[in-house]
């Protein structure tokens, strides 16, 4: 992981602050457990709540260097080299990602997601309603954005669309994540933005599927699918062995993150089931061409 200077903004495709936070949080969690300190007491030490400690340890919030220093002292970490290493990590983890310049249209939950997305080595998604944000054309993205922001000024719509398209640079960055996407046929049949926009979107999907690190599988209507697959969700995996997979579920006004092993297992089971029920990637390409002709 390369070092960054204060004031820098990380380029698209850089690991981004989120994974650094997760690594630091993971280490702090282990140190706290080893020291036998409760989250409440640790929170009290840095004038924060128990849940703040939990968010820190999950890498969901940024770290104040002073808080990290206080926690390390409380956990009995006196080794200067180790302290310096973790404090440096805290500084780096404070470097904003490229998306920080979109803060005017960036909801908090999306801020977290973009950090995770940029840091992931494998992104698995199940899409029930819409084509995934990473695969959307400008026209389709605009149509989807308008659905949720009917009374929003055109300028803000532009910003939101622009943010969504900028995210897609990830797919062509030097070391892109693997994106393995399972799409329900319903998401492809619904002509978001009209037939012409949808045809363009379907053709784009066929092209994206050709990218070496992108896999798309369609679950056709004829498939039994899976009873538990009642909403779209993503599972983000990180190359670091100590970091858990994170499940991301987008809701109307917020998003849910799940990373408890039992819960992640459940979503993993569902997406694995869907992946085996879905058309193979090769067959999906042919199917996409058929749907495009019919749209």
């Amino acid at each position: 992981m390369s070092t960054v200077e204060p004031g820098d903004e990380l380029p698209v495709g850089a690991p981004g602050p989120t994974v650094l936070r997760m690594m630091l949080g993971n280490q702090l969690h282990q140190l706290r457990e080893a020291a036998g300190v409760t989250a409440e007491r640790a929170g009290y030490e840095i004038r924060a709540s128990r849940s703040k400690i939990s968010r820190m340890e999950n890498g969901r919030v940024s770290f104040k260097e002073r808080d990290v220093a206080d926690l390390l002292t409380m956990y009995g970490v006196t080794d200067e080299q180790k302290r310096a290493g973790m404090l440096s990590l805290a500084r780096q983890a404070d470097t904003p990602g490229w998306w920080s310049s979109y803060s005017d249209v960036l909801d908090d939950w999306l801020d977290t997601y973009l950090g995770l997305e940029a840091a992931a080595s494998v992104i698995r998604t199940f899409e029930l309603q819409f084509v995934h944000g990473l695969f959307q054309t400008e026209a389709y993205a605009r149509a989807v954005t308008m659905l949720g922001h009917k009374a929003t000024p055109a300028e803000e719509i532009d910003r939101r669309v622009s943010l969504r398209l900028k995210r897609q640079d990830l797919l062509t960055s030097p070391d892109p994540p693997r994106v393995w996407s399972v799409i329900d046929e319903a998401a492809l049949r619904r002509p978001v933005g009209g037939r012409s926009v949808m045809r363009g979107q379907l053709r784009h999907l066929t092209q994206v599927a050709e990218l070496p690190r992108v896999t798309i599988q369609v679950v056709p209507f004829g498939s039994g699918a899976h009873a538990a697959a009642s909403s779209s969700f993503s599972i983000l995996r990180f190359a670091e062995p100590e970091l858990p997979d994170v499940v991301y579920i987008e809701l109307l006004t917020t998003a849910l993150y799940r990373e408890k092993r039992e819960e992640v297992d459940h979503y993993m089971e569902v997406i694995n089931h869907l992946s085996t029920q879905a058309l193979t990637p090769d067959r999906t390409t042919r199917f996409l061409n058929e749907i495009t002709r019919e749209t």
């Binding site: 393995w180 070496p212 004829g222 089931h273 085996t276 058929e290």
Partner: protein, 276 residues
């Protein structure tokens, strides 16, 4: 639906196959767990932990197996000039899979992965993708039917050129000794002269703890795995010419210091041999 050609899930050619049973431990997911992967469920971790409790050396064996695969592919590509691989019993993707190793040596390498497990196949199709110059293909076939494996592989591999046959810790899934021998012999019979077999397998009666752990494992509901004796493993190579150092303990086959001591204590047997 408007199109008559619309695919149906009942057609095995279209989808990866039947569902996944997560109520019993699953061999590929347990190996994934031992290798430190994240593609495993609670049942697999329980079965894996139980095995480790009785025989901790299994983790070494898992690591040594992957390390041997890496050295064998490097030998076959760089020293034996092999550019085509038939990998029987793919398992769940991990770091340094056969095609990545081979295509690192020559991006135009062609690899056919064979498995009959729907979860493994879905992962392979999505994650074991080729360089633009080379090819990877995924064959849904049971190794008990070598003729079908060879016929399907022919779509991707040129059977006029030597092929590296990789059989890494899977023959124990065939409990009958004669059938197991016959499968390997029939696969080899279909390959041209100058092809290679690279194989490792677990040994019975080397470690009592391992034999005991294996018996416990076989009772979990996971597909049982039969450990074999040295002579039985050697017989898989009948009619072939071993390359140095012959059939040896996995970590002793052309060790590479840059791999660290991954699985240094593994008690599995490994060898690479050429078809004359």
């Amino acid at each position: 639906m408007a199109t008559s050609s619309a695919p149906g899930p009942d057609d095995p050619e279209n989808t990866a196959g039947a569902g996944i049973d997560t109520t019993v431990p699953h061999s590929a997911r347990i190996w994934n767990y031992w290798l430190g992967g994240k593609d495993n469920y609670a049942v697999d971790r329980e079965a894996g932990d139980q095995y480790v409790k009785v025989f901790p050396g299994i983790v070494d064996i898992a690591r040594a197996g992957r390390a041997f695969l890496a050295r064998a592919v490097r030998y076959l590509t760089l020293e034996a000039g092999i550019r085509q691989f038939l990998d029987v019993g793919t398992g769940l993707p991990t770091v340094d899979n056969t095609h990545e190793l081979a295509q690192r040596a020559d991006p135009a390498s062609r690899i056919v992965y064979v498995d009959n497990d729907p979860l493994v196949l879905a992962h392979a199709r999505a994650l074991l993708t080729s360089t633009p110059e080379g090819v990877t293909d995924y064959v849904d076939a049971d190794m008990r039917d070598p003729a079908a494996v060879l016929a399907r592989a022919e779509a991707t591999l040129d059977f006029g050129q030597p092929i590296g046959l990789m059989i890494m810790g899977v023959m124990g899934h065939i409990p009958d000794d004669d059938e197991a021998q016959s499968i390997v012999q029939r696969l080899l019979a279909g390959l041209p002269s100058g092809s290679y077999l690279a194989m490792y397998d677990g040994l019975d009666s080397v470690s009592e703890a391992m034999t005991e752990a294996q018996e416990g494992y076989d009772d979990t509901g996971a597909m049982p795995y039969k450990l074999r004796y040295v002579d039985q493993v050697r017989r898989f190579f009948d009619g072939l010419e071993f390359v140095e150092p012959g059939l040896v303990r996995c970590p002793e086959w052309r060790p590479d210091p840059s791999q660290g001591d991954a699985g240094a204590n593994a008690i599995t047997l490994a060898g690479v041999a050429r078809k004359p």
